[in-house]
Each structure stands twice: as C-alpha cells, then as structure tokens.
Symmetry: C2
Subunit: 382 residues, 2 copies
C-alpha cells in the first residue's frame, strides 16, 4: 500500500469545501488526528494552521518527507513563528497542557474553542466522504455474510469475535475504532450473548458487556454461546478511515417469543425512522418515535437495555464512531443533507441476550439511504 507524500491528499476543491464548511471566524491551529485526516486526507504529527481567507499552512514534525505548498518543518510548536492574538484551538480534545503551550507559542491573548464548529462541519459529509462510507458498508456487509460459517458449537463470545476479527482484517479492516472523547474504549467491536448483555459498562455505547478485564470493561466476556441465546454482533467497519456502524443478531437455537418479537420491532423501528428521516427532521422526534414504537410493542422495559438504558437510539458516524447528530431526547439538531447516522434500536432480553439491528444511513435530499446492505432478519447459527 503506497500513497503519495503530499501533505494534502484531498483535491484542492475537496479541501476547500471542507475548510469553508467549518465557518471559522478566527485563525485556528489544528492537531487532532481525526480533524487532520478530515482536512488533509492524512494523519501527520504537527499542526494545520487555518486562517480565514488564506491558504492552509502546515507545521510538520513527522514525517519530514511530506511535501507541498505551505509546509514548514518544526521540532516543537515554539518554532511555528506566528503571532495570533485570538487563536482557535480544539479545546474539547486538546489537553489543557498542550492548549496552554500553543497559546504561549503563538502569543495569543485569547483562545477560542473551535471543536464544536469542527464537529458540526464534519457532520455534513461531502459526496467523496459519502462514497467512502458506501464502500465501507459493502465491505462491512461482506464480512458479516461470513459469520455463520465461523460459528462452531460450544464457542464462547470471544472465540467467535476473534474469528470475525480475523476475517475483518483479512478483508482490509484497519482495526482502529476512532472515538471522540475519553469516555469510549473498545477493541474491534462488540460480540455479546446471554446474561452478558445485561452487564452495564462504564462506556457510552448502546450496549455493555463485562469484557475480559476490569481494565476494559465492555463487550465479550468469555460467555459460552448456548442454545436459546442471541448473539449480537456490532463489529468494526473501518476500511478507509471512515466507519460504517452495523449490528446484526444471530440466533443459537430457538429464541424466546419475546426475543423474536423484539428483533422484529427493531427492524420495524429502523424502517420507520428511515422513512421519517429527511433533511429538516428533528433528531429528538426520531428518538421519541423509536421509544413510542418500543412502548406500543410492550417492550419499553428492555429497550436500549434492561438494567441500564442507553439514552439515545442513533448517532452520527464518520471518521469517529460517535459524531453528530445524536438521536436523543434532548437533541436540538435537525437532520441535514449529508449527515450520516447509525440507527440502533436494541433490546436486552433477560437470559437470551441482546437483539435488534443497526444500520448506517446517509441523509439524502429525498430521505435516508441505507448503506449497510446485509440481511436484517435473525440468522440461525445452529
């Protein structure tokens, strides 16, 4: 795999579109890896300096081989050599110490948080980003199609997960699960079965699980996959720096009537939300509709968890797994053309596990386009 040494791997038009979408009003120094990838098409060690109305400048620590207009090689931020009284910084991700260092290095009297504007800009995907996400969805679905062939009787959740991880990686998955903020840690995704689905996790994912260690308490816990249990699979779809988010549920033997009903309810919610979702739709209304459907089906007690209920039913995805907008009761956002959202109405059924599906959708002018084309019905493992 080789790619050019240009500091910007995006076309000038594409880069310009993304930068102007941020609507920055002050000069900003960008160093968060996800944001650098968004604004240049690559991760490098250093800083991107954006000044409204001017060409981007790049202050690169590593690798020093990178080339292009506007590059300066530096060893430390004090060598940037710019003076900027009002400086935009990514204050939601930059450490306090780094923020103070950059403020001093650029002699700024005032620092302004540009993280919210960047997250809002990134929430509206360009046609190129949408294309990359569609490609992810197809590859993601191809991996999922091989899951039934990986199952063997008596397997544990983590054994099945290891086999899925292998196929995912052989099919080109980068493995990395980029997250926004410190409250999410996960390795390659979540395979969850039986009573483990009812174990709450400290992280802000829809589903929990005990994990294998209190150092990473989420997901597969070594639980055997037994007849009568559901296996919910929510694995990594990052094949190109963008991530689709997709969950499918597999049945080991015969599941309870409630589990079957809840799975169908999840499919129904996805289809209903997909038909209601369009530019201008209120995110909180979509959440309320999902909750109402769960209530009408008599499944509110296990909707988005049983012991612990996650407070959302969908979220933006892209370079990171938790982008904007969020489909949650207190969201003030409406859907915008170019948003890419995962919708994941899930149910935890005591003794069975978690059931339901998750799809990723692009918000197009005329509605939501599903880009995770895998069969939605329960698939039998045994």
């Amino acid at each position: 795999m080789n790619y050019p040494l240009d500091i910007c791997l995006l076309s000038p038009d594409e880069q310009h579109r993304r930068i102007s979408g941020l609507q920055l009003e002050v000069p900003a120094l960008i160093s968060d890896n996800a944001n650098l990838f968004y604004l240049t098409g690559r991760v490098f060690c250093g800083y991107l300096y954006l000044e409204p109305g001017r060409e981007p400048r790049y202050f690169v620590k590593r690798p020093s081989e990178l080339r292009g207009e506007g590059i300066s090689l530096i060893r430390k931020p004090e060598e940037i050599g710019l003076s900027c009284p009002r400086l935009g910084l990514e204050l939601d991700s930059l450490s306090y110490s780094q923020a103070m260092r950059l403020q001093a290095a650029l002699g700024a009297d005032e620092i302004i948080n540009v993280s919210p504007k960047i997250m809002l800009g990134r929430a509206v995907k360009t046609p190129l980003e949408q294309k990359l996400l569609r490609e992810d969805g197809v590859r993601h679905a191809a991996v999922y199609s091989r899951i039934p062939g990986l199952f063997r009787e008596g397997m544990t959740d983590i054994e099945l997960q290891a086999e899925i991880e292998r196929i995912d990686r052989l099919e080109g998955c980068l493995g990395q699960f980029r997250v926004n903020g410190p409250d999410m840690e996960i390795h390659m995704g979540n395979v969850i079965t039986g009573r483990n689905a009812d174990t709450p996790s400290p992280y802000d994912f829809a589903m929990g699980g005990a994990g294998l260690s209190p150092s990473l308490p989420v997901g597969a816990s070594g639980e055997e996959i037994k007849p009568g249990q559901a296996v919910m699979i929510d694995m990594n779809g990052n094949f190109n720096g963008y991530m689709t988010d997709m969950t499918r549920t597999f049945a080991c033997g015969k599941l309870s009537e409630k589990a079957l009903r809840a799975h169908q309810c999840s499919i129904d919610i996805c289809h209903t939300l997909a038909s209601l979702g369009k530019p201008g739709a209120e995110c909180k209304a979509l959440y309320e509709k999902a909750k109402e459907m769960a209530h009408e089906a008599g499944l509110e007690d296990c909707f988005m968890g049983h012991k612990y209920h996650a407070g959302f039913v969908g979220h933006g995805v892209g370079i990171q797994i938790n982008e904007l907008p969020v489909l949650a009761p207190r969201s003030k956002m409406t859907l915008t053309e170019g948003n890419v959202i995962a919708i994941e109405p899930k149910f935890v059924i005591e003794g069975v596990g978690a059931v339901g599906i998750e799809n990723t959708y692009i918000c197009c002018a005329d509605g939501l386009e599903c880009i995770t084309p895998a069969p939605e019905a329960l698939t039998q493992l045994l």
Copy 2:
C-alpha cells in the same frame, strides 16, 4: 469473565501504596482511564477524589451498580459538591474544556497539574503489578512461539498479522493498546517487512511503516513477505490491563550478512544494557551505550531507523505502552527498583526490513530481570 462490583478491586494495602506513591500535596480529581485503573483496579466513568491524609472518594456516573465506601452517584461533575481552592487535575491528558469545567464545578481558584507525579508514581511498579507483567510476558511468549506455524509462502505482512492477532486474542489478549498522549495510534502492534521498514510514520514508535491507509499510517502495508526479507514482529502483550512489549525477528529465506550482523548486535546490546541496568543507572548512559555499540559494529547508519532515526532505545511500559523512564539522550532519570522498561535496539536494513529484538525487563535490586522469555535468535519462516 466476572469480577466483583466493588469500586476498588485492589486490596486496601495495595491501593494505599499506590496512592501514597504519588506524593500528592493537593486534593486531586482523577478521571483518566489509565489512572483510574492504576488507583482502583478498574475503569469506571466518573472521578476519583484523592485528598492527602483522607480515604479516597468516588463520584461515579456509570455503572451505577458499583458499590463500596465513599461512593456517590452523579450525573455530571457539577454534582460532586466539593469545594477545593487548589485542585489537582490531570492536565496532560484532560481536555482544556473538561479542565475548565472541573475547575468551575469544584470552585477552584487554582488548578495544578498532577499528571507528571502520577506518571512518576506509575513508573515504579508494585510487586502485584510486577507479577501481572511477568504473567503477560509468559503469555506473550507463548503467542510468539506459534508464529512460524502461521506463515505460508506468498503471504503479505498484514495477512500474517491477522493470523497472529487471532492467536493473540484466542490466548486472551485484550487487544487494546493503551497509549499515553495523542501522538500514538496503532492497532494490535506492528508487523513490518522489506522496504516498508524504511517508511517513516508520524507516530512516536521506534519503527514506522506506511500502514494500510493514510488515516492510520503505521505498520503493515500489504507488502509481500519475500525470500531475503526480515519480518519484524512487535505485537500486543496486554492480557490483564498491563502490557509487556516484545519484538522478535523472523527470516524469510537467507538474509544479508549485514542483517544477520545487525540482529546479533541488537541481542548483544540488550544483554549489555541488561547487565548494566540496575537501580541508580542513568537512562541516558544506557542509551549512549547502545548507540556506541551500534557505532562500533559499523551499524550506526541504520540504528533505530535508516531514513528516520528514533531518538530512544527503550521506554517504560505498564498500563500504557509509553511510560517512564525513557532511555534517551536527554533523559535525566535514573533507574529505580520497580521500573519496568522495554529495550528495543532495532536496525533497518535497506531492502531487507527491520531486524533486532525487544525485551521487557523489571528493574530489581540486583539488576534487570527479563520477563519476555522467547528465543532471541532469528527464526526461519522459510
């Protein structure tokens, strides 16, 4: 896998030892996952409040099931309800926005960076931590012993890596590669061969590689493993929340004389540094000794890289892969009993790949104990 719901999974003695090792002089609010794991034995969503001379207090957001002395459930930091004029915060990892929010929530006039003290405290591993790291080393070596059996002619680096990842995971590896700071991203480790070893990466690892995508430009790149090439394998050794760091090199066919010589030089450097390392030894002197041995062997041009030279030969490991102390020219630290360090003198040989080894050592009263017990000589794959 089940573990108790106690907020602190460490014995009171163990926890007290770790807290007092931090030598905090001001009350501190801790929320970094690595530090929470260090000080409680688990990751949770919330805050640990340490006040010198008092019992720890816990402000827990999730999971709400946790129990024990000193727990308060909160939904947001404004509910902590303490007032603290001088407040210690993890300012090297906490975002600027979070730091400001916590300062306001606790009414602090002044915030003090406790990150450096915590990293210094964590650098001295307790006997329990040393035991966990020894266990990692044995399990890590068991995974590596299976590598020759995974190789098939014509494989690419990433295909071999996917097979190693699978074995690693089936043997209980948690997968997560915890790193300190924003400058490191990696998935499960680094398998590198041929010219890819000469591709510099933005990240602060000893070795580079192009990776599969400019969104994660490090490591295996899809390069075929051909006769005459070395395959350097530096994979994840996190089986319990602590990580051993170990590299071994495998030969596909016959390697060049220079590659063989460099690999032996790496082994010699490790053995020499292991014999010189003891409490009181200067970290920079160990680095200089390694560099001197590479120079004497006529290998300085390819020591720690060829196009790009990493500026260290070893580093602390533990909960994160990049802890203190660092064996580097400007280090002012000396080794202390209880330090755990990885020593990784590596060489990049043009056209061949990278060669050399890396071991993890515990600094004991009488010298360095190697805890990564795998054969060090080149192993033939073909």
